[in-house]
């Protein structure tokens, strides 16, 4: 085990450094509520790829893909996970271009939901999106506190407070500008550390050939790309990731941050291409852990760290520790600002008389409240896997009718809600996690994650298609933008200009 003090010191240095980067990068640049939550048309394709990658790739990539590799079906499960993680980013290219076209001045996905479908669908999207993002944040804190406790015996509350606290400082101060700038710098560290860390691990394990031979000897299905349970896992996890990420406000913010459609296309495509090897490599260490008999089903989620503890020299463990901290920081700041931005944009619409300063203070207050909640949960070490899966299922049932509203005028709010509910009912009927709650219902089909996620997405898609074909809501996509309240007035007594004059 690595020394607790060394890991604590390393964590402290890393978080303080990035807090300073975030604060200095945003100093004097947050002059309006718009700056705090939107940063419109501000990024080129390199920075966009970096921030999209950093936002989406949390410390979960060190846990879940390895768990899939070790316990849920080896290579095909990991391949499904890797490709599934890239699909939403690819889909954001046409969807993002359409978002920028029909709602050029928008800020959030809930603004679109309200303007396009009305209040019921808006409430649906708001609850699912915020629930998913908060669970993502809490899972990140839980993951990193567990990882540092395992490799160095760092008490969970210390890790949660250090990382959560310093991320909160720069995110509450500099909003989206600070989040995106730190994301870019973090990606410049994450990518080489990932390459060094994983190449080092392959070498200390005896090379890729040795790893393959060990897997074949222990359990040939680990490296069999046609292994059916692995393929099934790959399919449902891809749908789960797709639905959840299409309702990820952090990615919607980055769609608006691109400085044009061409940048959006290149930035999201490059991020999609990079996600695949990142998830794949992380997952292969789950296969390694299983091949060398280091895991049981109960410990599969920490497979990568078990490999580290077993074979890695201290320097390699420290590389992975820094990697894990940066992965958490880069996605935590995104989620904090994303949740605050949804609430701020909605408050601006629901209470038009609210001043810019009140909105700005609300945004900061919400950032603090959400961070405190995530730190508290992370310090406890609860398992949030079931909540994560539930949030994924809700998103899988809703994202198709929601996004269809961007492309067709015919789909009504009622049609979108019926499609979402039909998908949700189908998904819940098969969903193993909720089975104890609905067991009293007669005639339930056998529980299956695959059928739950496929059912939710396919049924909601089919009902959306029928509702679009039969209905003619006549929604005017050209007037959606008019329903957005501008948030670009200077905040009195708020941000400073670069000249240091109070605005």
């Amino acid at each position: 085990m690595v020394s607790t003090n060394i890991v604590l010191a390393l964590t402290a240095v890393t978080v303080v450094m990035f807090m300073l980067v975030g604060v200095l990068a945003s100093r004097g640049r947050v002059r309006t509520v718009e700056d705090f939550i939107a940063a419109r048309d501000s990024l080129g394709s390199g920075a966009l790829s970096a921030t999209v990658l950093a936002s989406m790739m949390g410390a979960w990539i060190l846990f879940s893909p390895a768990e899939a590799g070790a316990a849920f079906g080896g290579l095909p499960a990991i391949l499904g996970y890797a490709i599934g993680s890239a699909i939403p980013l690819v889909l954001f290219v046409p969807v993002g271009r359409q978002i920028r076209s029909v709602m050029a001045q928008g800020h959030s996905l809930t603004e679109f939901a309200y303007a396009r479908f009305g209040s019921t669908m808006y409430a649906f999207i708001l609850v699912i999106s915020v629930f998913y993002m908060f669970i993502f944040l809490a899972a990140e804190m839980t993951g990193i506190t567990g990882a540092l406790a395992l490799v160095a015996g760092v008490p969970r509350w210390q890790t949660a407070l250090l990382i959560g606290g310093f991320v909160l400082v720069y995110t509450a101060y500099g909003g989206l500008i600070a989040s995106m700038f730190t994301d870019t710098v973090q990606t410049l560290v994450i990518l080489p550390f990932l390459a060094i860390g994983f190449a080092g691990l392959v070498i200390v394990l005896g090379g890729a050939g040795e790893l393959h031979a060990a897997a074949l000897a222990t359990d040939p299905t680990l490296v069999d790309p046609t292994f059916r349970p692995g393929l099934e896992f790959g399919v449902y996890v891809a749908i789960a990731i797709l639905g959840a990420n299409m309702l990820n406000q952090g990615l919607w913010q980055r769609v608006y941050a691109a400085d044009g459609d061409r940048t959006l296309t290149r930035g999201f495509t490059v991020a999609a291409v990079l996600v695949v090897p990142m998830v794949l490599l992380a997952g292969l260490f789950g296969v390694a852990a299983a091949a060398f008999d280091l895991t049981s089903d109960a410990s599969a989620s920490i497979a990568l760290f078990l490999v580290l503890e077993e074979v890695a020299p201290t320097w390699l463990t420290l590389v992975v520790v820094i990697l894990a901290i940066l992965l958490v920081m880069s996605s935590a700041d995104t989620m904090l600002n994303a949740i605050a931005s949804v609430a701020t944009a909605d408050l601006a619409r629901l209470a038009p008389a609210t001043s810019q300063r009140t909105l700005w203070m609300s945004g900061r207050g919400l950032t603090i409240a959400v961070a405190v909640g995530a730190i508290a949960i992370g310090a406890q070490g609860y398992s949030v896997l079931e909540l994560f899966l539930t949030a994924d299922l809700l998103a899988a049932a809703v994202f198709v009718p929601f996004l269809a509203g961007l492309f067709t005028r015919r789909l009504s709010g009622g049609g979108a809600i019926v499609a979402s509910l039909a998908g949700l009912i189908t998904g819940v009927a098969y969903f193993p996690t909720l089975r104890p709650w609905i067991e009293v219902v007669p005639g339930l089909p056998p529980a299956s994650f695959l059928l739950a996620f496929v059912g939710a997405a396919v049924v909601s898609s089919m009902v959306t298609a029928v509702a679009t074909a039969l209905g003619d809501a006549g929604a005017n996509l050209d007037t959606l933008d008019a329903q957005v309240r501008a948030l670009d007035e200077p905040i009195p007594g708020g941000g400073r200009t670069t000249e240091g004059i109070e605005r």
Partner: protein, 43 residues
């Protein structure tokens, strides 16, 4: 076993290519991000 041995060798070669190809792709991606940032800075 005579038939399976070449299969195992091919599978091992593909597995090796998957690992080192992924690491290579990560490094290429880093190159793209750095190039994109420098390009934006120059403009």
């Amino acid at each position: 076993m005579i038939v399976l041995a070449p299969m195992a060798a091919i599978s091992s070669a593909l597995f090796t290519a998957l690992i080192w190809g992924s690491i290579g792709l990560v490094i290429l991606g880093l190159g793209y991000v750095v190039w994109g940032l420098l390009d934006a800075y120059r403009r």
